[in-house]
Amino acid sequence: MHKHATSRPRFLNLLQMRYPVGAIVSIGHRLSGLLLIAALPALVIGLEWSLRSEADFRQMCEVLWSPWARGALVLMIWALAHHVAAGVRHLLMDAGVGSRLPRARASARLAIVFAVLCALAAAAGWRP
């Protein structure tokens, strides 16, 4: 595919490449999606655990809110918030809303900030 490109300079230094805000949201969308998939076995096992008995249900709730699990929970809430925000942005663009560059950049920033705020709220112990 790139046979003609052998004589051209390649620039693949990931640290020096520039990432526009839209690219960061896009990478984050993929990364958060993979994180959420990684959590699916735990989700099913958690459901199983919560149905076993009242004591198991209580124990699961306690473990879920313990400082040990808090880190994982905050990460997952970030992943879910980012994935949903980036996904809504994607769906709106499919419908032709906000696909021009200035608005696309603004919504990209909004998605990133929204997800970080959700993660911070979870880290601070806020529950809806």
């Binding site: 999606g33 993979l34 998939i37 076995p41 096992i45 149905l51 008995s53 009242e54 809806p128």
Partner: protein, 112 residues
Amino acid sequence: MRVFSGQVPWLLQRLTALFLIAALLVIFIALLFGVLPDYASWRAFVTSSHGATIVFVSYLAVCTHAWIGVRDVLLDYVKPLPLRLLLLMAISVLLAATAIRLLLVLGAALFV
């Protein structure tokens, strides 16, 4: 009609996304209004035929969405075909295993 490539997965990805956004909204609003379930109501919901159906259909939507998402990522980053198919098979097995486990859990809770 191609099922695993072309328009069908593209459309399925968006339909499952809309469904899951709606489901998350319902859960979030319920939590906002303080509907944190205790064990009895949680078990009663999940083991009712409606509740179990909602949980399982939602999980199938998650699996469909996840499979198509992984397929999209693999198409971009994994070029060698055998490796791509291997990873796709691995994720399929993982998703199917969790879905079957969920089905068994729900079945056990429903009928025992």
